[in-house]
Symmetry: D2
Subunit: 360 residues, 4 copies
């Protein structure tokens, strides 16, 4: 019932606050005898790590993960993994002002409304710092689902500027600080963000996550549908305000004939689809095509411009965020979205195997 | 673990197939001593009932609900409600062709891929018939959350034609067969759908659900966030391909200054927000503003136009849907979306009360 | 969170009251393509059915089960089973007195204390009538675990008279109305219960359930241990006040040397145990030996002797139960205990397969 | 679905192995603004700590707990508590022999059968070391339920020697190393265990846990009954083989008249019960009387006497446990049983409040 766990068969529970001594997660349900080392997880954490370019927060965290339980002589034992990261760069002094003022578009007011108390240092539990543990859990999930399934993400829009999808190049994603698959869009974004960064402002973004190699039939209708779980997974990432699968909101303007993904006979028993408006999910179950999810990330309101707000006494005031800025928090959403996709697929793989018994 | 339940504290489990003798649900966790009659539920079922206009499926179902347990002398007892509806208009003959062919954009292929077997009559378990039980559960949820919270829905787009939001009139929603809040859009849609219906084709749509009166602080961070649960709730409705909260995908093109919902002092301790880009949710918790969710519903591919597909033997074939058509399945999504919103709020109300102990 | 469901991967939810129109359950997570008919379930319901001898309640219920969903053309589809039994012999008039008085040792007072309201007719939701649905779910569970695993039960004690374990004969269990494996004990019990029945009194009993053929390794440490789940499963059966595994409470008086189940090499890789004090469970996981569970069932306090109690206004009064008596409710506990054991094993079989992936 | 969590609304998840660097737990669902310090938890851990008398294991562990998250400025925040204890006295060399041999009556064989791999050092995950985290979670649970409810435990039997219940003195429990409420039994036990300890042997025991002050109506029928959850809670403690409530197995030999707890009018609306055979639970709900649970703990088979067993290759061998012995592991079961009782009550208190809304 409490809200800090995700997944059913592959299940992780995160804990920790932005400025506590450590953050961590417990990953339960991991199959035994999987080769797993801290380096396997560190690889993915390093991709998410803040402070790697001038376009993400300048908080300096090595984000070194420790595996404290669940691995013996290099193999998972089937018992819970405890993964822990020490918070190094806490700099509590930066956040003193927000102890009393509610930052607009942050969770300051709502946490206070709910709990009557909050750890205001750096956003406390509501900080995007928590997403490091999603990435750690996602690294384990990737091990569970194996190399036959790839989960990759990219940024497809910053501000009002979208990529040219015909220019999509997965290799390019690794070459620029935006996870952008379109080399020209990356250049444009650099220019846009340079201005935004200097002005202490921020822009929103859209992230796209693609899973390739997922076999058909994954998902649990009707309330634990694969796309339902993906929607929840992505919407719970900090600052996300929308999620879509395949053609997404575009389906509204389609006719049934346009939207239908027609099928032809494939080489094996599985059909070949002539399009993928479904984004790889029909009736809540995977079709065998790429699973394609997009989500919109709002621009942070921690900006240099003064914003009107109230304080904890209900008095009107203004707030302005000096110090470390994050011109586009959506950039860091890419590795987090990948991790959540991997976790959803791992969870449904184990759940499917439980009921159906085939090794998908 | 199996997928046919929704909610934690207010929890319902649905069962039944499109052409089985009955469909039903069990609603567990309902507080005791709530006045509840079959008429209370029937009112909402009647709004969803198919066959009420020429623009939705012509399946004729009275959808008469029975409360079989959990109510004694007109009051809930705190024990499980069993709600049952008899399927009357099954017409199995209409569906004989789909026993062997996979309808594109339906769950025929994926259910077969998952289970190796499926009840092909009318879509079986994957049929939108299941949503009747969501509406029934939603009617109970409305009783749980009380009259202080209203949950209303409307259709805001059909095909490529959106409403004029400045013309929004909730009263108008009840006056046209589209749940359209804009009288002019309703006229336009009638024209559009008349053509589509005659041609045996279909269009997509966008539904908007608004909850008013929800107190601040509802939701369970960080994985059972209110918006995460809403995203899952809506995405699991048949044919939905995208969900957004508040400004939704629009946030990508905003700056942080534009997106920030600034606050001023309210009359009580709660602040007044100067905008609602957040759609009533920050950090996964309600802000006290209207909770606004939109979802996109794809056009059905059960149309008069022949579509290419394969059969269960993997042979290539075509399929064409004669008989009852549904030119815009999104219309029926309105009462279903309302019901899911009510269920999510009821669940989080009870969960919140469990941990925090205040009567929200 | 609400309490009317059991199991995780193989999960059933029951509903209904003693004197409502119907009782039922939803069984979710059943693997597809299992041959299942109403007759398969009816067989086990008939064994539990009341009114079959003068030593159990004379309520006359045919207990005819209907499968309303989840089976298509004789096979399970992997979607939820809805199982329903109509209540025929409700005789509400028998129970009029208990509307106002709290029967000692029944749930009358506690349901009122919890919910502030209760369906007093025949015990309402707290009636042992609910156990019919456990037996129905157990019949499905037997299909899931297959013929390789047998789950059998027997009564091993009535009042202060235990069976002679050296005279145990499983065939005898089917020949007397007590499920007694010792022919001489059965004769003695008949004599004892004849007296008790005529006097309108009652006796307690101990039930033993044995599962044979369960492979080693089933269970989920450390909180979902196989024996933990069995303890919960049995303790939730009406009137049960104690549960033990293997040597049970007898272990307290043993030395470590006596209690140790020593091992020798078996014909395959599995060891042969030289004793089974563990009752087939070590560390919460099955050992491959017989799983042996015993539970104590209290005597009903619905007797001809007047008992002191209070009424709903808090006034002192007496109560005496006329009409249908149940001299030993433990007798009917045997098929219910078998069913719960089968459900626990089915659940853990699917859970194990999910994480480990071997077909146990 | 994985098995390392306990509770629903008050929910904890434990991790760690006997000889890993740390063990820990995450406690989720804790109400906010509860005063909580490490000292509050340490107090209860110190009572369980091994090595405090010659009658429990000589492993030396300071068991110093750290609260790593969920507390801010001395108050719980409503977010997850992470509690961690460093393992200090690992002495891996003591356990080298058990890498290859299956210790009888331990989980060595069953873990290998399940997972195909195990951390053999000190029992790994199956070690009673895990119970330290139950005690830590229990300390938090005591804070949640408040001082109005007391949860106390005692040892009531070692070997074949039970206490004289008429001599029960709660103060005495704190004065001897056995948590024995009967001063004479404590003397007798000291004598018995002195012999057993010198001989390197072991004895079983029975623990009794009593909760006083629990209001009537706690519990969730019919599968999450209070006694069902208590049975599971206790049975999952290492080495427990039986659980009973109130008169427990004694009910079998009672008549319905003897077993009935008659009621008289109390000073407030609540009745006064004239006996407590029910052990404070009727119909799965608390009656307001003391909740009384007993459980049997087997003697450890880690003894100086050689026992026949097999090794991981299936070869026959013998095993003898030198070094640290635990003549009666039941002694350490007392604080663990108390903790589990407190956790069950805390969980049901929050669950009850969620559905019913009264502050119990």
């Amino acid at each position: 019932m409490p809200g800090n766990s995700f997944g059913h068969a592959f299940r992780f529970t995160t804990w920790g606050e932005s400025h506590g001594p450590e953050i961590g997660c417990v990953v339960d349900g991991v199959p035994p005898s999987i080769v797993l080392s801290e380096a396997d997880i560190q690889f993915w954490l390093d991709r998410r790590r803040p402070g790697q370019s001038k376009f993400t927060t300048q908080r300096r965290e090595p984000d070194t993960v420790r595996i404290v339980s669940g691995v013996f002589e290099g193999l998972t034992t089937g018992t819970p993994l405890s993964l822990v990261i020490e918070n190094k760069d806490q700099r509590a002094r930066d956040y003193s002002e927000i102890a009393d003022k509610f930052r607009p578009s942050h969770a300051d007011y709502t946490y206070t409304a709910k709990y009557g108390i909050r750890d205001y240092r750096g956003g406390g539990r509501a900080s995007a710092r928590e997403t490091a543990m999603r990435v750690a859990a996602g690294a384990v999930a990737r091990k569970v689902i194996g190399d036959g399934i790839s989960v990759r993400g990219a940024l497809v829009q910053i501000g009002d500027h979208s990529i040219d999808r015909s220019a999509w190049d997965w290799d390019e994603v690794e070459r620029n600080p935006f996870w952008c698959p379109d080399v020209k869009a990356a250049e444009k974004w650099e220019e846009m963000l340079e201005t935004v960064r200097k002005d202490g402002l921020s822009l929103g973004a859209v992230v796209e996550i693609v899973a390739t190699g997922v076999p058909a039939g994954l998902g649990e209708p009707v309330y634990d549908k694969l796309d339902g779980d993906l929607a929840r997974a992505m919407m719970t990432i900090n600052a996300v305000k929308g999620v879509e699968i395949g053609a997404g909101f575009g389906v509204a303007a389609m006719t049934g004939a346009q939207n239908a993904d027609e099928m032809r006979a494939g080489r094996d028993k599985n059909p070949v689809f002539l399009s993928n408006n479904a984004g790889g999910v029909l009736g809540g179950l995977s079709t065998g095509q790429d699973i394609i999810v997009r989500f919109a990330v709002k621009p942070t309101s921690s900006i240099l411009k003064p914003l009107r707000t109230v304080d904890i006494k209900g008095e009107e005031t203004e707030i302005i965020t000096k110090g470390r800025h994050d011109p586009c928090v959506g950039i860091r959403g890419v590795p987090v979205g990948e991790a959540m996709m991997a976790c959803v697929i791992a969870d449904h793989t184990l759940r499917h195997r439980g009921q159906i018994g085939l090794s998908l």
